[in-house]
């Protein structure tokens, strides 16, 4: 049970190499399930390994509780780690794998047996204790790896992409089990993954990392609804957010985001003050695929802008249809009602939920204000009001 504090932590693998971890500064409260997410090579695993003691910190400090751990060897940091490859000792049976760390710490045999049996019971692997790792399935190995961490009763659990080697079905199942385990153990979990679905489903807080630096920290919902920059907007959400190069035109009620002649969206009133400085300049406009609807099946009570497009490809998902649309050079994706009449090559009228528009500065790539719906909610403390605005 401990909070973890990263204080301006930096890691450089070689003198001239780029920073692997760039000024990582974060406080992780006790009992939090923190997920570090980002594309391959973004430094998320290195950030975790710095805490584990498997890499040396170049600059900055890391604390577990009040204890500065920079110079404390890994084995004394009171952490346990689950590896992507499980890293089970192939020549030892499951019991010995779980007991290895405890016996090295000179814990009495009786207590070791008790702890291993408890962990085995929690994970439902009691009948596997005598088996060697090679006689186990991927999912069972994963459980043993979890068990090996549990028996240590560490104050922080570290996970380095533990589900990447499992098949899709087992991954979903294990995801839920790890969440349950977190509730049951009430310990700080720090979890690294490149899979944003895992991040969204398991985390109490997510850190999006890119090129070693933190791009945004927040709850899954916060990251989804209010991405603070272009990178987070593109990374969180699947399928990804549609992004368009536009120019801010007009002022007051006629302010609009102009992509092409046929594709221009009005700016909702709440967002106008923020976009005012950008008049006549370029901004990147973003909208999530589920905020674009087939005009025939649009939800009630939303402010919309209509646009005529051509359907490129459709993907039936059962509960919805992914429709790839084209307007001149712009192509984008909408997730629409499965009753849609969209057919490849045919025209389709779609409506944009303009309260859900995101805008980004093309130079700094930072978000310009919040989506209008959030601004309204913030100001009025209520839901968005409907009202149709034609494009």
């Amino acid at each position: 049970m401990a909070e973890v504090t990263y204080e301006h932590v930096t890691k450089r693998f070689a003198q001239d190499a780029p920073l692997a971890v760039d000024d990582f500064d974060l406080k992780i409260p006790d009992k939090e399930f923190l997920v570090l997410v980002g594309p391959s090579g973004c430094g998320k695993s290195t950030t975790l390994r710095l805490l584990a003691g498997l890499e040396e910190i170049t600059e900055g400090k890391i604390y577990i509780g009040d204890r500065l751990i920079n110079d404390i060897p890994a084995k004394d940091r009171d952490i346990a780690m689950v590896f992507q490859s499980y890293a089970l000792y192939p020549h030892m049976n499951v019991y010995d794998n779980m007991a290895f760390g405890l016996s090295l710490r000179k814990i009495p045999k009786d207590e070791i047996r008790e702890r291993v049996n408890d962990a085995a019971q929690i994970l439902g692997i009691e009948e596997l204790l005598k088996r060697k790792p090679r006689a186990l399935s991927g999912g069972q190995r994963q459980r043993v790896a979890l068990g090996r961490a549990i028996v240590r009763k560490p104050s922080v659990f570290l996970f380095d992409e533990p589900l990447s080697n499992l098949d899709a079905k087992l991954r979903v199942q294990t995801r839920a089990e790890i969440t349950k385990l977190h509730e049951r153990l009430g310990t700080t979990f720090i979890y690294v993954t490149h899979d944003q679905t895992e991040a969204m489903t398991m985390a109490t807080r997510i850190v999006v990392q890119h090129r070693g630096a933190i791009r945004q920290v927040g709850s899954p919902q916060e990251l989804y609804d209010r991405p603070r920059n272009l990178f987070v907007a593109g990374f969180i959400g699947s399928p990804a957010m549609n992004l368009f190069d536009t120019v801010v035109e007009g002022e007051g009620d006629s302010m609009r985001l102009h992509a092409t002649e046929d594709f221009t969206l009005p700016v909702p009133p709440e967002k106008r003050p923020e976009l005012e400085p950008y008049r006549g300049k370029k901004v990147i406009m973003g909208i999530r695929p589920e905020n674009i609807h087939d005009a025939g099946f649009q939800p009630p009570d939303i402010r919309t802008a209509t646009c005529g497009c051509e359907v490129d490809v459709t993907e039936m998902m059962g509960n919805e249809v992914n429709v790839y649309l084209k307007v001149k050079d712009h192509s984008f994706l909408a997730r629409v009602d499965p009753r849609t009449s969209a057919r490849p090559g045919q025209p389709l009228q779609v409506v944009f939920d303009i309260d859900r528009l995101h805008a980004f500065d093309p130079e700094t790539e930072e978000a310009i204000g919040l989506p209008a719906a959030e601004v309204k909610a913030d100001r009025n403390g209520g839901l968005a009001v409907s009202g149709e605005t034609a494009a």
């Binding site: 584990a52 498997l54 084995k75 952490i79 992507q84 290895f100």
Partner: protein, 319 residues
């Protein structure tokens, strides 16, 4: 309406099946078996000759034994083991070979672990140096080593023990240097190290990194990791090395010839060579002695051959 079975429905005759087999895999088998017989003949001849009377060897070819198969004698073996000191040499060979096999593997596995998994300055340069030693011919080092050994030879002697039932003695000779078992062990260790370090480092290096990190987080020191994780996982490669090094030392003539002058300490290879020199060509003794010298390596090879192949693959393919 009944109909005759078509030709293709009839079960194929034995001859057809056999011809098909001969056409597909049979030729390979035939070729392999012929090669095997061809290669085994010299050894077989040696074995047969070692059981024949000297006068028979001189007067008729080895194939004549098939005419009267029970005309064998074990007199040659008795003669070689007792009168020619071959039994003592056999013991000496064991005294030389067993430590000279275990020592380099122990030292090399420590070194290989360090080269593979410990971070220290100059690691790669040192490893390169060790591998570079593989190309130094052993013969080039003999004179410098001999001169060094002569200087280092102390007056003190290694104790020797008489074997009660089997006969012969174990031990003896100087404590180090020339005419010393310890000196010979050290020499063989040094000659064997480069290859052993090279093979083991590649094997250890191919073990997954996560395993080491996991053990490290579990609180294991390098020594614990080495003895409890690395060694148990390295069975095949170590078995392969045992075979290599054992055969190399057991069959060594040159190093023993240079460093051991005392006939009481001679290993088998040296004694067999002297057998040729001092008594002319006595085939019956030579063949018997050679066969005795083959028994131990054959036993080792058959016991560990499974690992031998695995070990070679592990070293070369993964590394």
């Amino acid at each position: 309406m009944a109909s005759l079975p078509k030709t293709s429905d009839r079960p194929p005759t034995v001859l057809v099946t056999w011809l098909k087999w001969l056409g597909s895999r049979g030729m390979v088998h035939v070729a392999l078996i012929s090669l095997m017989i061809l290669w085994s003949i010299p050894t077989l001849v040696m074995l047969i000759s070692s059981f024949r009377d000297p006068s028979d060897i001189a007067s008729s070819g080895w194939w004549n034994v098939f005419a009267n198969p029970f005309d064998f004698t074990i007199e040659n073996y008795r003669n070689v083991l007792d009168a020619r000191g071959m039994w003592q040499s056999f013991l000496n060979s064991l005294v030389i070979t067993i430590p000279a096999t275990l020592l380099p593997i122990l030292v090399a596995s420590f070194a290989a672990y360090a080269f593979a998994w410990m971070r220290f300055p100059g690691r790669n340069a040192l490893f390169l140096l060790v591998v570079a030693l593989l190309v130094v011919p052993l013969q080039m080092t003999l004179i410098p080593v001999l001169r060094l050994y002569v200087d280092l030879t102390p007056g003190a002697e290694l104790p020797s023990f008489d074997l009660p039932v089997l006969g012969g003695t174990i031990g003896g000779g100087k404590l180090f240097g020339v005419n010393s078992f310890v000196g010979l062990w050290v020499a063989h260790t040094a000659y064997g190290l480069p290859f052993a370090v090279f093979l083991l480092r590649n094997f250890f290096g191919a073990l997954p990194r996560d395993l080491f990190e996991s053990a490290y987080l579990d609180g294991a020191s390098d020594l614990t990791i080495f003895f409890r994780i690395v060694l148990p996982l390295s069975g095949p490669v170590i078995a392969a090395l045992v075979i290599f090094q054992f055969l190399w030392v057991w069959q060594d003539l040159l190093v023993a010839l240079v460093l051991l002058g005392d006939p009481d300490l001679s290993p088998m290879m040296l004694t067999i060579t002297n057998l040729v020199g001092s008594h002319g060509t006595q085939y019956q003794l030579l063949t018997a002695a050679s066969f005795i010298s083959m028994i131990v390596p054959l036993g080792i090879f058959f016991a560990l051959q499974r690992y031998f192949v695995q070990g070679i693959l592990a070293g070369s393919v993964k590394g």
